[in-house]
């Protein structure tokens, strides 16, 4: 080890803490470069959202929410999240129980498959439902005969959203439950508690912060998803336009106040998501 050290520097009798002015320059440089980079690509766009939304004053900002199509888009986004998040939460809890509490063959494959939607382009996530249920899709003719519309309607939007947000709750819960172990559950069962009682009284209180975080992430993605929903929605104003899709329409019509007003709501949602994340991490319930 000693032989590998450079000899040229030995005469300098370098000690840690000796060249403090050099440390100060490096430190200043790193902080400046980091902050400049973040300011350009992250903070400036965030500030722009609010600057543009409020460009014509607070009254114009608030007035843009009175537009019935905007109101409809907000309602649709809330409805979708209200359906998708609970379903994916139940799924996440079931998947985490099966994976964290039991040892079985093929477990790592199952985990990989659950994560699959994260690796897939949002456009593809929407397209698969068009291929299945679209007019020229596998079940298209049958659906049309029975006058059921999935694509370009609410069910398609919900399916696509469910697909892209599928892993979020499960991904938070699986490592957390694995780390917490089975001892307390096994004790409860041995002492005569039923399966559901054990789950609600022992497991759920232990993982509640992880669960909250997973649901908040799932909700943020469900409300903000653009690509997948864009492919299945059909962009019918006031009917199948979610908030992100409505932003696109308003923006392309040069209604910048309207577009950025809707965007400001989603930005606030993202900020709330980050606050919850920080609080959960501070509570110390984060994995590892």
């Amino acid at each position: 080890m000693a032989a590998a050290l450079p000899h040229g520097l030995a005469g300098e009798t370098a000690r840690p803490g000796q060249h403090t002015w050099m440390d100060a320059i490096v430190r200043w440089l790193f902080i400046t470069v980091s902050l400049a980079f973040l300011a350009a690509v992250l903070l400036a766009p965030l500030a722009t959202v609010f600057a543009m939304a409020l460009a014509h004053g607070l009254a114009a900002y608030l007035h843009s929410f009175a537009d019935p199509d905007t109101a409809a888009a907000i309602r649709l986004t809330l409805t979708t999240a209200l359906v998708v998040v609970p379903i994916n939460t139940v799924f996440g809890l079931a998947a985490a129980w099966a994976i964290a509490k039991f040892e079985f063959r093929g477990k790592s494959i199952l985990i990989t498959l659950i994560d699959l939607p994260l690796a897939i382009s949002p456009v593809i996530s929407g397209m698969i439902f068009v291929l299945l249920f679209g007019l020229h899709g596998w079940f298209g003719a049958w659906l049309q005969e029975h006058e059921i519309s999935i694509v370009f309607a609410l069910p398609g939007i919900m399916l696509a959203t469910m697909f892209v947000t599928f892993p979020y709750v499960a991904r938070e819960l699986i490592p957390l439950m694995q780390q917490l172990g089975n001892d307390e559950e096994e004790a409860a069962i041995t002492l005569g508690a039923g399966g559901w009682m054990t789950f609600f009284r022992v497991t759920l209180p232990k993982v509640r912060w992880g669960l909250v975080y997973g649901m908040v992430l799932c909700n943020a993605r469900a409300m903000g998803e653009f690509g997948a929903v864009s492919v299945v929605s059909g962009h019918i104003r006031g009917l199948t336009n979610t908030m992100p899709l409505h932003i696109e329409i308003l923006y392309n019509e040069y209604n910048f106040v309207g577009a950025f007003a809707v965007a400001s709501l989603l930005t606030l949602l993202a900020a709330v998501t980050l606050v919850v994340k920080t609080l959960v991490e501070r509570a110390g319930y984060r994995r590892r």
Binding site: I124, L131, F226, A263, L274
Partner: protein
């Protein structure tokens, strides 16, 4: 069941059954439909679609811009992670929390906001315009959008690895006369290398499939500023489901390749970690 180890806990059948059923219904069967739609094409048609000049142009932009964005994040991700881990400054905690913003922010919002900032009359664009640098509606804008949305992957991958670098080792090396750059090259870089590469790959994977933020800033000219996911959407809008499926399969194959690379990299990182501990 011989497939699993016995346990006193109940509910395996119920939860495992529900998990696999739901996974198959929502994720696996729809994905199978994509592969089937592409497989039902004639081989010659499939090749014609995926190698058309317009498709090739879109790959060039999608993969080129994603590689560039991942490289930018490789450098700035390390710098930002280093700053957050090693230095104490006012607002550090806030900046640390803000790193995850691109995860939480809907892509459409990132798209219109970036376009506005970098448009010729935007806050930053107006200073770049006189220099002859056009960002919005060019490949540069695409790269910028991809850099923003994949930035957290790079920072978050490197941060824990930097925390693990043994400070005593650095101090010992400095005491023995090693220079700053030498310490970086021989002690810090080897420790964080697997994490750096994982961050690079994750950034790339996220960037290649991105749609929402890019379409606003790209300009979307065929052959020039048209990304592959947009070309898929165009095929779908023309009811050319097979053409869309063919391009989808190309992207899916690449995603799986990248996923495999990430797993291998993480395995390598863990093995190095174990070796270092001994």
């Amino acid at each position: 069941m011989s497939l699993r180890k016995p346990s006193v806990l109940p509910g395996f059948g119920l939860t495992f059954g529900f998990t696999t059923f739901f996974l198959s219904a929502i994720v696996l069967l729809p994905l199978a439909a994509l592969v089937l739609a592409a497989a039902s094409m004639h081989w010659a048609d499939f090749v014609r679609v995926i190698s058309s000049p317009r498709a090739l142009g879109s790959y060039r932009l999608s993969f080129g811009a994603s590689l560039l964005a991942a490289s930018i994040n490789l450098v700035f991700g390390l710098i930002i992670a280093w700053t957050l881990v090693r230095y104490e400054f006012p607002g550090r905690k806030l900046i640390d929390a803000l790193i995850d913003m691109p995860f939480a922010l809907p892509t459409a919002v990132s798209g219109i906001a970036l376009t506005t900032v970098f448009a010729p009359n935007g806050w930053i664009g107006r200073y770049l315009e006189p220099l002859g640098v056009k960002v919005a509606y060019t490949w540069l804008g695409v790269t910028l959008a991809l850099t923003l949305i994949s930035m957290p992957f790079a920072v978050r991958a490197v941060q824990p690895a930097l925390l693990e670098v043994q400070r005593e080792l650095e101090e010992a090396a400095e005491t023995l006369g090693a220079g700053r750059f030498y310490v970086f090259r021989r002690i810090i870089l080897p420790t964080v290398l697997p994490a750096l590469l994982t961050g690079f790959t994750l950034s790339f994977a996220r960037a290649v499939g991105e749609y929402g933020s890019v379409i606003f800033i790209a300009g979307n000219l065929p052959m020039k500023t048209e990304i592959t996911p947009l070309l898929i959407v165009i095929h779908l809008e023309e009811f050319d489901y097979q053409g869309a499926a063919a391009l989808g399969v190309v992207m899916l194959t690449i995603s799986f390749g990248v996923l495999l690379a990430i797993n291998l990299l993480q395995g390598w990182g863990r093995r190095r970690h174990v070796q270092a501990a001994h």
